[in-house]
């Protein structure tokens, strides 16, 4: 009986000392926490993609609470998150232009062909090191889906040999663009026309490589009343700031490579 009592007392005493020390320590060494950080972290999408420029959502929340960052920097959450965040911080939200990733290539299997039959590792970054990928067009989509693997939102699919972004699902986090070895993916405003080609070869070469390659014929540049299209190095580029979605460029394009994705989606 006595030995049990001693054991209980000794262990109990040690436990008590540990508890008292911990209680005192947590009181003495308490660190004031900015409670907004927790609420901000909750309001953010939690994708931890880093598109805001900070190390994940908690990093962004920290910067927001300190006043180093602005509410609209999270492309994943978009306007809604910006509003919630702004409400927590008590500032006005700036509404941004809705953006989306776009693959600037239309070289599907029907439009372009293979130059070599690549059978190596199924990854664009591996394929690109062998003669720049297997496609006829050296600028075009390799279609092995590095971007698909990178996307956290399932917004990219490889359809018929070329990557296609589902703009409904895309959150413009820029991860796919960073991983594309051909730099074909751009984050652009949704409401703008786009030349879905990145081939800078001369027109005759482009014609040989792909049925829908931009040949730099200048027709769209002349047709655009707003000066939104410029042809440089045998390829047309749309300036989304100036584009009004009038669709004239798409009408005159002999290759049909200018797309108005937002309009086609039913707008």
């Amino acid at each position: 009986m006595n030995s049990i009592l001693i054991a209980v007392i000794v262990v109990g005493a040690i436990g008590l000392v540990v508890a008292v020390v911990l209680a005192l320590a947590s009181a003495f060494f308490a660190v004031p926490v900015d409670e907004r950080v927790e609420r901000l972290t909750e309001a953010l999408p939690g994708a931890n993609c880093g598109a805001c420029g900070y190390s994940g959502c908690s990093g962004y929340a920290d910067a927001l609470a300190k006043g180093d960052a602005k509410p609209g920097q999270c492309p994943v959450g978009g306007d809604e998150t910006a509003k919630t965040v702004a409400a927590i911080l008590g500032v006005e939200a700036e509404s941004g232009v809705p953006t989306s990733a776009r693959v600037m290539c239309s070289g599907s299997c029907d439009n372009t062909g293979k130059r070599v039959n690549y059978k190596g590792i199924a990854s664009c970054s591996a394929a690109v090191q062998l003669l720049g990928g297997g496609g006829k067009c050296t600028y075009g989509c390799i279609g092995l889906g590095d971007c698909v693997k990178e996307c956290d939102f399932g917004a990219i699919k490889v359809c018929n040999g070329v990557a296609v972004v589902n703009e409904e699902l895309c959150r413009s986090c820029n991860k796919c663009a960073a991983v594309c070895p051909k730099s074909l993916i751009r984050i652009v405003p949704r409401r703008s026309a786009a030349v879905l080609c990145s081939n800078f070869d001369k027109g005759t070469q482009t014609k040989d490589d792909c049925k829908v390659g931009c040949i730099g014929c200048m027709k769209c540049q002349k047709a655009c009343e707003f000066g939104a299209i410029k042809v440089e190095r045998f390829k047309a580029t749309v300036d989304p700031e100036l584009c009004t979605l009038c669709g004239r460029c798409a009408e005159v394009c002999p290759k049909g490579v200018i797309a108005l994705p937002f309009v086609e989606a039913g707008q």
Partner: protein, 202 residues
């Protein structure tokens, strides 16, 4: 004296490696060894806690448990003390060394229940009971060596896992199976150190 300390230190790292020879602390060994950076952070935290825990539990055992004849309560008391200690370290680090807390912080709660730490504090006492020349300082050096041994094992294994990333592994072995197989191979390689320290120190 110094010779004994060096021998104890080397033995703790090579021949008595807590992870690869005694198979203690396998959970963090498998869980946190994916990258060399995190492996280093975790090992640094483990080393720190091992030394600290030994520094506290050794006198508790000698001065409280032995006089009351309560040696059999060693395990439960040590768990209690180590858990409290880790919490205390966490609180203090958070206040005074936020960068260190941010880099070690996530590992500290993991260490609370790390059996390598408990193993060190208990095995050190076992050795002290057998060898009269084994003092408090020897125990601390042994704990430090055990921590460094943990670090060596983690870093080596992080390197092995880095190679596994690019290796063509059969589908049925992907993930944990191949990790366990390679861990056992690393452990076998450490068997080669058997007798090394005795040979060196004569």
């Amino acid at each position: 004296m110094v010779k004994q300390l060096v021998a104890v230190f080397l033995a703790a790292i090579l021949t008595e490696n807590y992870v690869l020879s005694k198979f203690l602390g396998i959970c963090p060994f498998l869980g946190v060894s994916k990258k060399v950076n995190t492996a280093l952070g975790m090992s640094a935290a483990v080393t720190f806690v091992m030394v600290l825990a030994t520094a506290v539990t050794y006198p508790i055992y000698e001065n409280i448990l032995v006089p009351f004849g309560l040696e059999y309560l060693q395990t439960i008391v040590f768990i209690l003390v180590i858990a409290g200690l880790v919490q205390l370290v966490e609180i203090i680090l958070k206040k005074y060394m936020p960068p260190l807390y941010n880099s070690l912080g996530i590992y500290l709660p993991l260490i609370t229940t790390n059996c390598a730490v408990l193993g060190v504090t208990m095995l050190v006492l076992e050795k002290a009971a057998q060898d009269p020349s084994y003092t408090y300082v020897t125990a601390l050096v042994n704990a430090f060596g055990a921590g460094i041994g943990f670090l060596v094992a983690m870093v080596i294994f992080a390197g092995v896992r880095g190679r596994l990333e690019t290796a063509d592994i059969p589908k049925s072995l992907k993930g944990l199976p191949i990790t366990l197989v390679s861990a056992s191979l690393v452990s076998v390689s450490f068997l080669g150190f058997a007798g090394l320290v005795e040979g060196l120190m004569g």
